[in-house]
Amino acid sequence: MVADQATFVEDTEPFMASLYSTAVRLSGNRTDAEDLVQETYLRAFRSYDKFEAGTNLRAWLFRILTNAHINRYRARQRRPEETDMDDVEDLYLYRRIRDEARISMSAEDQLMQYFSEAEVVSAVEALPDAYRMAVLLADVEGFSYKEIAEILEIPVGTVMSRLHRGRKMLEKALYDFAVSRGIAPDDDTALDEVSADASS
């Protein structure tokens, strides 16, 4: 059964807030985000007869949103450059900040001692598009890897590697904020034992 344009507004309105939230992080500002959501709704309305009623409407709308975003910023590369990303060590932040107060404090509280919410936003907004989309869909919107694969039209394995790399880049960026404020030692100091291994 196909969806009916007559019910389009009531069907899709519940997703407006989360579409807008993602649009702000994708476009980097509220004005462009509003345009992007408007464009998303227009496109969705026009092809609503192709949407199969009963399937995942939220994922379908996000697919239109991310496609609209990609088309707008075609100048930016759709595919991330694969250079430099592998330099970030796995579990980067954990290895650097988790030792001290591990017993008494939740991970969230401990993390927020090192950086602010504004810094989280700016680290996310600095990610290359392909990584940012994956991280937003997973960590903000809570889509499953399979849903993200469908939204971004890429294999699940690619979703996972983009998330993995994107999250590591975030960890590094967030740690660097803490270093720049002098509340975490810079990387060379933090990783003394690793440097010693590497130079021997």
Binding site: F8, V24, Y41, L42, E89, L111, V124, Y145
Partner: protein, 84 residues
């Protein structure tokens, strides 16, 4: 800088930590994924890492959420109602 993906103190590799975190065991055999799952249940070190990583995802998620202002909602709805 040379990347050094050192294993955890319980000797589990970071790759396996991520596997356990995502519950994604594709590409490794069933015996090994069972071993990992049962290790996880009893390992303080792994559960601390996972709590930390999940906490990080929560922090990223809640930090990035943006409220939809009422005036924006109104404008979007108006444009939606013009669609028919």
């Amino acid at each position: 800088m040379e990347i050094n993906n050192r294993p955890l103190s319980c000797n589990v590799s970071s790759e396996d930590v991520y596997r356990m975190l995502d519950g994604y065991f594709e590409g490794i055999d069933a015996t090994r994924s069972e071993t990992l799952s049962s290790h996880l249940k009893n390992c303080d070190c792994c559960s601390d890492v996972m709590q930390f990583q999940l906490g990080l995802r929560t922090v990223i998620g809640s930090g990035c959420r943006e409220e939809l202002p009422d005036d924006v909602r109104q404008r979007l709805l108006e444009s939606l109602h013009k669609l028919r």
